[in-house]
Symmetry: C2
Subunit: 418 residues, 2 copies
Amino acid sequence: MSDVEREVHSVAERAKEAAADLAPLSRAVKDEALLAVADTLVREAESIVEANAEDVARARENGESEAVVDRLTLDVKRVDAIADAVRDIVELPDPVGEVVRGKSLPNGLELRQVRVPLGVIGMIYEGRPNVTVDAAVLCLKSGNAALLRGSSSAYSSNTRIVEVIRGALEKTGVPVDAVQLIPGSGREAAQALMRARGLVDVLIPRGGANLIQTVVRESTVPVIETGDGNCHVYIDEAADLDKALAVAVNSKTQRMSVCNTAETLLVHAAVADRFLPDALKSLRELDVTVHGDDRVQGHDDAVVAATEDDWGTEYLSADLAVKVVDSLDDALAHIRRYSTSHTEAIVTDSQTAARRFVAHVDSAAVMVNASTRFTDGGEFGFGAEIGISTQKLHARGPMGLPEMTSTKYVVTGDGHVR
Amino acid sequence: MSDVEREVHSVAERAKEAAADLAPLSRAVKDEALLAVADTLVREAESIVEANAEDVARARENGESEAVVDRLTLDVKRVDAIADAVRDIVELPDPVGEVVRGKSLPNGLELRQVRVPLGVIGMIYEGRPNVTVDAAVLCLKSGNAALLRGSSSAYSSNTRIVEVIRGALEKTGVPVDAVQLIPGSGREAAQALMRARGLVDVLIPRGGANLIQTVVRESTVPVIETGDGNCHVYIDEAADLDKALAVAVNSKTQRMSVCNTAETLLVHAAVADRFLPDALKSLRELDVTVHGDDRVQGHDDAVVAATEDDWGTEYLSADLAVKVVDSLDDALAHIRRYSTSHTEAIVTDSQTAARRFVAHVDSAAVMVNASTRFTDGGEFGFGAEIGISTQKLHARGPMGLPEMTSTKYVVTGDGHVR
């Protein structure tokens, strides 16, 4: 075992101990600690901004774009907003202790299935330093210890933020080691985290497809895959074409860089001539490049010829693949072949078509006459979201606090034997 | 890719296609197919017994014990009993289509979270050929395709049983490829199954700790760990000692070869002098070898000195580790260190002690004044059980039909956009 591995293991062991102490804590104790975190973030905002300035300077030296620098940058106002988000999470119900099912067995035993924390959650993420607070707080609220591994580009910010959170916890009933940053910013530390089976209960990667695939491939710790979204909108022959236009354009353009944005539009041949001219015009006006098959290209000179690659690409940009299909079944076959099983939408007024689409599309979310952009913990009313799972085990779709728990059976008798 | 890998992949691809066709089938279609399976098993009982005779002969040639040979042997009566078990599963409710939660969102979108099959379930198991039928039928009932990899010692029996099941499915609405045996009995085929990520949705190993650890280590497909049980019974100072005796003896001796049998008995020092003499006597009369610490050894000459290894061993035999502890917290610390998190029991009349034990023991099942032997899908009223999960993700404790499903969100609107 290398020094780095040893260090990560020792951090993970402390997290495991903290998780055991954290699990039985009441909501009141946890909420009080989270409020202390919010207050301390506000009080320490300037020191966080100072640490953040180092990351920002480094990003500028490395020639990062203004957009990247802006995403990274914290000011006092942004830190205040982060603290407000913590207070919002305090308001959410605590999933721990919920009785998922319960009954008396014929022999008089009382059986209850009760929500309990998962234990130690490892988060590997890219992106803005606010994720550090968000992940830590969602873990604490659901009774889990958090092992955080953020982007190396935000290392100074994340280090200071975690110091501040731990400082706040010191005066509360929540163990300080319930929130820890994986030491160092090198690749070896991330790998050691991925292999800390038995110490870490689950890893949740958040970021681009590359990051997620690396974590899936290299981890021996169970992983929840999130956010890989090659989402489809299918315009059925029985669609109301006004609704179809609204849903298609909104699914692609309302926010293009996120996993629930649409990347392919499938149009039934029977409505293609009536639907495509308007749709292609609207998309062009919004600066979307359409990658179309032969039957789409005929409708607009600006359409780029689609290649096989286009059907499988999650653009996350102002690009959309568009294809004309001859039937609902052809649309289903296309989706089955290329979808990442995140979100697919049908626009139709036909009950038969909607029912068939819902039954045959095997995705985390299936939309009927609604934008793919609605697949979101906030939109679903969960109040918070740690990610959107695109796998079938444990949790699928937007993951709120209940999805960050496991259960245990509590069985009460009076000396019962078999 | 070797020939074996190619063959396993082609089997898994057919399973994936079958799973897609199977998922939307109604309960009526699935139940009809399962009844056809039961009828055909009865009709083909003799050919199954004939194939089984080859396995039995091979086992005798290999000098297997009579107990092993008996577990392997099928006769017409046993096949009939297997068919009856299939009919019992037909009676169980279909988990697929259950609305787990549903509501109308403020914007009028209707949100439903609906149970759907997992897809393709790979089963790797040791033991009796009846597991082949059991696993196939539980998978079909929950809408999943089954990829079965049984013990090589039962290869002829399993091959014939799967032929019979597939023959029965041919005349039904369930695709034949929904039940397949992994070809060949070599190790390479099992490994190919473990690495068929993207084709197989989950692997459920059933068997000894070695098998399960191998699958966990070598799989890239998500695994549900089952059945590793180093279970504890703790006799609290506030225990009713008659109930304590009954629960301790039953937990160890009611059936010793199964995962929910107790392997360690922890006794509070305050009641050790009153409890241990009777307990040790009862255990001796039932031919249980007690491996005790210093304070246990004093009570009975037949007690063997326990070593460090004893605390961590899942005996699955007429052995029991026994230790005197000075407090509930010492018992909790011992359990935290050595338990496999399957089932732990406390015997106590103290509400305070019971509450603390339940809160601090992190196991799939926690028993209060009841035998560890109750951790069982049948006892819990689930009607069927594919295994007992000892992990925290997806399913924990006895897994019935609902645990063999995932969910998807179905969102219905009227042209809704963000």
